[in-house]
Symmetry: C2
């Protein structure tokens, strides 16, 4: 067997320790599949003293992770520190600039700086693996970039954040409100103390930006992703969704429009969606992730599995190391910079689709007429309307489902409707998607 | 950009023409992802004159496909003739022996001769791609062999034959009998004129043998796969399955037992299963394929999508060609021959699990007592029993669901039960699986 691949790990949190544990437990299997042993020889983390439940003896310890980038005894750097800036970014840049391959689980870094990192990697002939950055253990980067390489991808959509999916699943299963389920998720460790990164959709948007770049063969463009989180979803909307035959899911959706009726370009958006209850993504509950990819030759492919956690993320990191050990290399965005598509990003105002709108109105004569007049004036046509309960003079919910219409028209209509005296709260808008 | 990869295609049926069409329609995307153009330069098929709806002008035509193996102008051979023997086998062997890489969609060839072909490929330094051999466009070979390379796989299970899944789905949806739905599937082109290859489970067994070899890192062992088809499934069993909370699916299941309570080794079997209605595999209807893989670090991963057809199969063939063009190479069974596991195959008699047994008995006093006495004598304990209808002196169905028990005991019990005077037909046995 060949010489081992010598790996330095920067960051010994959950993921870093998971990688160490995997390579210890499954070292023999990994060596057979990699064609050579994969040996962690050096580590770096902030605190050396902490008991991590696995021995670090025999490993070189570096207080400064930057040393991993330049140490000639290290063949590859695993960056599992996290964060789009700071030491994670500096380390990855330094390693690539030194021609040293990098494997990372850092979605923020890839989403925000991935275009420059790809250029850097290409210039110095170093590879950059990031299977662990999207959907944890699901080999979705490999599936899109290699397995479906023959296809023009029309659309990729997914449940990319386990925390949000857990909260929405629990809200539905138990009829509870968002804030209540979030608090419980925090107690159980499914949500962070500061949950905004997850529930405001940023984490899903990082992952979607990466998926879209790979699916459509263009440099990553995180700033162009439209993002809405799940804070405004109420138990009432979940009940209405059920009555209408939908589930509410936070989806990341990227689509390539071919310039038929719409403008040519790529749209990428993360927001709560109403998905038909029978769609594959509707049935995925709890912290599970799932991704649907639609290719012109393959049709629709679905991947489903654990999207986070030490084991799944370590599985993805090691898959990248095995590729490296075998010499199976792929440009960051699937093709060299010169071969990437220059396709433009479409703004959210260009979106069109069907919409669920939920208002709280004073139950009095003429309100529905005023609301529907606004919609008519903006050319928004209705597929259905639901009104629940009768309470003269008090607040009742009214649900409107539109036919396909433009985002700009719906937004304008909703602003005018919100300004009506009889409309009591900020209306809720949820886009309807095929799932 | 680099020199094109020059490809010769042997076989211009549905799949061969699909590959030509894909490379024509998506040539630019494929070239970017492959780092060089992939150009079909030669073809071979039985009939030259047939109109295939796509021009073959400019391509070298060889009446004898064997020429593709030796022509120095051809970098890689795509074998889509099919069949475990004959010209397909001869061509693949000749190409590999000449050190020429091969991509094939031929599951029978890989399942039956894959162990020797891997040795041949290794000896001559030629690669052998067969993503298209299992589950059509789903990149399941890549997912197992590369994407989950860090995991010890405990179990891989799947719906591997679209024809059987279509028939079972239709039987359930419309309450119809097997023979009736089969005849319709034949009219619609979902089943062959001679359907035995599909409905007797052989096709699924070929695919399972390949999956098991990759999942467990050992040479393929088709002869060790236990096979039962779906001919004996009746509309009555499908109704009872529904009442018990199950769906009936033809699954391929391979499992690695670690030598805890069971013997260490690998079991591989294809047979109809009762799967809990909520399991991922239970929800997959129609011609769709789906595969579940369970790894010790990643947990449970599900892939779902089109398992057959020109487009999906061409997608998989081209993915292999892109790997080849990029120089991303992997040994056939995931590791070199010397690194493969020598694990033994466990015979079906060693299987243990829960069983659904359905009898047709004469409705008369004492029958149930006789049946349950046989089960007691063999140590088979019952979880539940259902009896439908009352028709003194006539035939009524009786369903028995066992607790976990051994295959050998159940088979012996069933033979004794079948011999009872009051038992009218061959009893039906369906194994219960987690899905």
């Amino acid at each position: 067997m060949n010489r081992p691949l010598s790996v330095g790990i920067a960051g010994l949190g959950t993921v870093g320790m998971g990688v160490l544990r995997l390579l210890r437990d499954n070292g023999e299997i990994v060596a057979a599949r990699a064609g050579r042993p994969i040996a962690v020889t050096a580590v770096s983390a902030r605190t050396r003293a902490r008991d991590r439940g696995i021995t670090l003896s025999g490993l070189h310890w570096f207080d400064d992770p930057m040393v991993l980038a330049s140490d000639p005894a290290i063949d590859a750097v695993v960056e599992v520190i996290g964060g789009a800036e700071g030491v994670a970014r500096a380390l990855v840049e330094a390693a690539l600039a030194a021609g040293k391959p990098v494997v990372t689980a850092n979605k923020a870094l890839l989403a925000v700086h991935g275009a420059e990192l790809a250029t850097l990697a290409e210039r110095h002939g170093a590879s950059l693996g990031f299977e662990a950055a999207v959907a944890g253990g699901l080999p979705v980067i490999k599936a899109l970039r290699e397995g479906l390489a023959g296809n023009r991808i029309a659309r990729v959509a997914g449940i990319l954040n386990g925390t949000c999916n857990y909260i929405l699943s629990m809200m539905r299963a138990e009829g509870r409100e968002f804030a209540d389920v979030l608090a419980e998720a925090q107690r159980l460790g499914y949500a962070e103390a500061d949950p905004s990164f997850d529930i405001d959709g940023i984490d899903a948007a990082h992952k979607l930006a990466i998926l879209a770049a790979i699916a459509f063969g263009r440099p990553v463009a995180f700033a162009d992703v439209y993002v809405e989180g799940i804070r405004r979803i109420s138990a009432l909307d979940i009940i209405f969704a059920g009555e209408l035959g939908y589930r509410i899911k936070l989806l990341g959706i990227a689509r390539q429009s071919d310039g038929g009726v719409a403008l040519p370009g790529i749209s990428a958006r993360v927001h709560p969606c109403m998905v038909p209850a029978s769609a594959p993504l509707a049935r995925v509950d709890g912290v599970t992730n799932a991704i649907v990819a639609e290719g012109d030759f393959v049709g629709r492919v679905v991947l489903e599995g654990p999207g986070a956690g030490a084991g799944p993320t370590a599985s993805a990191v090691v898959a990248d190391l095995v590729d490296l050990a075998r010499g199976r290399l792929t440009p960051v965005w699937g093709a060299l910079a010169a071969e990437l598509s220059p396709s433009t990003s479409l703004p959210m105002q260009m979106h069109s689709g069907c919409y669920y709108l939920r208002l709280m109105v004073v139950d009095q004569p003429g309100v529905i007429a005023d609301v529907t007049a606004v919609l008519r004036d903006l050319g928004v046509s209705l597929e259905s309307m639901l009104q629940r309960g009768r309470a003269p003079g008090e607040a009742v919910p009214v649900v409107l489902v539109t036919h396909e219409t433009g985002e700009a028209a719906v937004r304008t209509a909703l602003a005018r409707i919100a300004a009506l005296d009889a409309v009591l709260e900020e209306p809720t808008l949820i886009r309807i998607e095929p799932g």
